[in-house]
């Protein structure tokens, strides 16, 4: 067991256990914080796969923006101290069964790859030094990803406008929304 494998096993366990805790935590704020742990573990997995940029993007966007958004929402819309989110509903056995079936299906799919049970991650197509540059060039290359790039900005614009429209009813543009 090399160091890389050891780190991978620990990180993978951390990711899975914290993911279970997200669902099973009785307090919603704790669940949000376990989510942060899961996202951090995924970032470490990205690093193990030599994708430093994606790992950092994971931390910046998921933990730095989305998790904060979720925590804001949870803390603002619940009586924080006295809350108890649902832990299990009556059909939980069905959910576990479907989860196991999906996991088996994914495993079967992965087993088709010739190198799936390998000790080290496969080498990357581009050298690590030029990877980000290549990514940058591909985002604006007319033959590659320029259209998805621009469409992404339109999507972000739509998300921005949509959320503003939803969060503020048009009739109420001024006036107090509460104390403070």
């Amino acid at each position: 067991m090399t160091l890389l494998q050891g780190v991978f096993v620990v990180t993978a366990l951390a990711a899975v256990i914290s993911a279970v805790m997200v669902v099973a935590s009785p307090r919603l704020v704790h669940a949000a914080l376990w989510l942060v742990v899961t996202l951090g573990a995924v970032a470490v997995l990205f690093i193990l796969l030599d994708a430093g940029f994606l790992a950092m993007v994971q931390v910046v966007i998921y933990i730095g923006a989305i998790a904060i958004l979720i925590i804001f929402t949870v803390m603002l819309t619940r009586r924080v101290m006295a809350d108890s989110g649902p832990q299990a509903n009556r059909a939980w056995w069905l959910a576990v069964f479907i989860g196991i079936v999906m996991f088996a299906a994914l495993l079967a799919l992965l087993a088709q790859m010739p190198t799936w049970w390998q000790a080290t991650p496969p080498p990357l197509a581009a050298s690590a030094d030029f990877m980000i540059e290549d990514l940058g060039k591909s985002l604006v290359d007319l033959d590659r990803y320029v259209v998805p790039f621009e469409v992404a900005s339109v999507l972000l614009l739509a998300a921005l406008i949509g959320s503003i429209v939803l969060a503020r009813p048009p009739a109420e543009t001024t006036g107090k929304t509460g104390p403070e």
Partner: protein, 118 residues
Amino acid sequence: MSDQWLFIALILPLALFMASVPIGLSRLIGPRKSNPAKDAAYECGIETVGDTWVQFKVQYYIFALVFVVFDVEAVFLFPWAVAYEQLQLYAVLEGILFILILAAGLLYAWRKGNLEWI
């Protein structure tokens, strides 16, 4: 590349530990005389009234949302900036188009008065 991250993987827990030591030390050395008045939540000297919760202000949510959108935009722009030196002018203009579309979104939010702090 993973060995470059080794230093970071070492310094973060080390810093966490080093910062916890004074706190642990303080718990050991300092007195531990807890009484209900001292442990009660601080509200400028008066008794706490009501539960601990904060009124929902949509403002926080909107700021967080606008932040998410601009954060994702900036992350998209980083590879573009790294490759900048080797790009042609049209590629640079494509990136600028990306920026301008989101600047339009900011302008919209501004005009709708969503960037105010009420």
